[in-house]
Symmetry: C2
Subunit: 233 residues, 2 copies
DNA sequence: TGACTTAGTGTCGCTCACACACGAAAAGGG
DNA sequence: CCCTTTTCGTGTGTGAGCGACACTAAGTCA
């Protein structure tokens, strides 16, 4: 293999990587962050940002590091999705990957490809290209997880700018769930949760009535979360 | 390290293991299968069955293999729980473990410790000893997952013998959820799901009215599962 | 000032979740 | 044989919440 020192173990070991499924929301559609690979295998293919785990490094930290290195994104909150370890998923050798997922506000970052990525871009989940390795399957699992999660925890707010209108929020939910929602019922329920604070501002754009702006209130959420809680859309 | 050949890699790699949280139901309590370790580290401590993943082996298969080797159990269905990879979780070196969980009918197996386990035994989840590594935390995550799952999918039947009474089923649910349930509502809902078949037998035991026996019907379940579905306890 | 566009609001019917108590059947003992 | 004990098995009423549904409000632009 390599002529240099190397690391020797008594038994063979699979390699260990992390991959990140980063969701964003733009143009009324749910998007995933992909990088274009600059190295073999799968040069030129789109793939999830990720890379090898270093010895002594926590898995979550490795995911955060790779995300920052390859795409210039600092996701505050990464949650583990699971381990993917089918023997043939990497053509080189047996590579086990621990996948993470995160939600970010696309506007907060300027994507910057680096390391072994030649490009980093948002792709609508509905129109993904063929992905390298088993990354297509990983994205599928992540989308499922997001859909399940969004119904029971107020995660959606992490995808919107700090100030948003209820219509924007509803559009987001519809994009994630892939189904239309009733406007009045949606507003009723969201406001009943008492997680939003109405701002003294409105969004005026276009030839129509301006919309009230809201802000997600983490304090209220923390308080509710403490005494059990239920969301249900 | 070892004087023999060994396997050399350009970069250092964490070791990769699998661990299994196997749930059973006995004596009115939810139980977990533990083995007593016969090797360093943590000799003599109780731990989850598990071991190193071989190169070229699927993660789920590795979990099944270790479970069968160390405890003599063939769990039909193993589901992944997640990867645990904090750097200090194994005192020897950086070891990342992918945890799986399963439900079995304790009566179906005669526990047989082997390989590096000197004993295999069921332990009530309420009275677990101190566990090796971070296995205590892993069990905690598994219990949470089981609780969440049991409310939305009819997993409970995998823990009971083929024929069971509704009271037994209710006792199981109460043990898993850790709370009492109303008898009439429980029976109403369970029967309304139309997943059980009443058998032409009764269980006569003790000085009281005999109880109707039921069987879980996988066909009915498959049919329901196909057209969406909801359980909610 | 009229046309257009999106924002914002309330009611009603129905279903479903939950609380709740007693007769039925069998066994065992006096 | 009868009385006691124990668990099995069953129905109703009420209140809360979900879902369906249509019109007015406010602003812009021509």
């Amino acid at each position: 293999m390599s002529g240099k020192k190397g690391f020797t173990y008594e038994y063979a070991r699979p390699a260990l990587t992390v991959d990140c499924v980063v969701f964003g929301f733009g143009g009324g559609e749910l998007e995933v962050l992909l990088i274009e690979r600059g190295l073999d295998p799968y040069v030129g293919w789109w793939a999830l940002p990720g890379g090898f785990v270093r010895v002594g490094e926590d898995l979550g930290e490795a995911a955060g590091r790779e995300l920052s290195e390859e795409a210039g994104i600092d996701a505050g909150y990464l949650e583990q999705l699971g381990a993917f370890g089918a023997p043939g998923r990497d053509p080189r050798e047996h590579v086990v990957s621990v996948a993470y997922w995160a939600l970010v506000r696309p506007g907060d970052y300027r994507l910057a490809a680096a390391t072994d990525a030649v490009a980093a871009r948002w792709h609508g989940v509905g129109e993904l290209p063929r992905l390298a390795f088993d990354h297509g399957a990983i994205v599928g699992v992540a989308v499922e997880r997001l859909r399940a999660r969004v119904r029971h925890q107020p995660v959606g707010f992490n995808l919107l700018p700090e100030k948003f209108t209820l219509t924007e929020l509803q559009t987001l939910y519809e994009a994630i769930l892939g189904e239309g929602l009733d406007k009045r019922n949606f507003r009723k329920r969201v406001l009943a949760l008492d997680l939003l604070t109405a701002l003294p501002e409105e969004r005026r754009e276009g030839a129509h009535r301006p919309a009230q702006l809201f802000r997600f209130d983490p304090d209220k959420y923390a308080r509710l979360e403490r005494r059990g809680f239920h969301f249900e859309l």
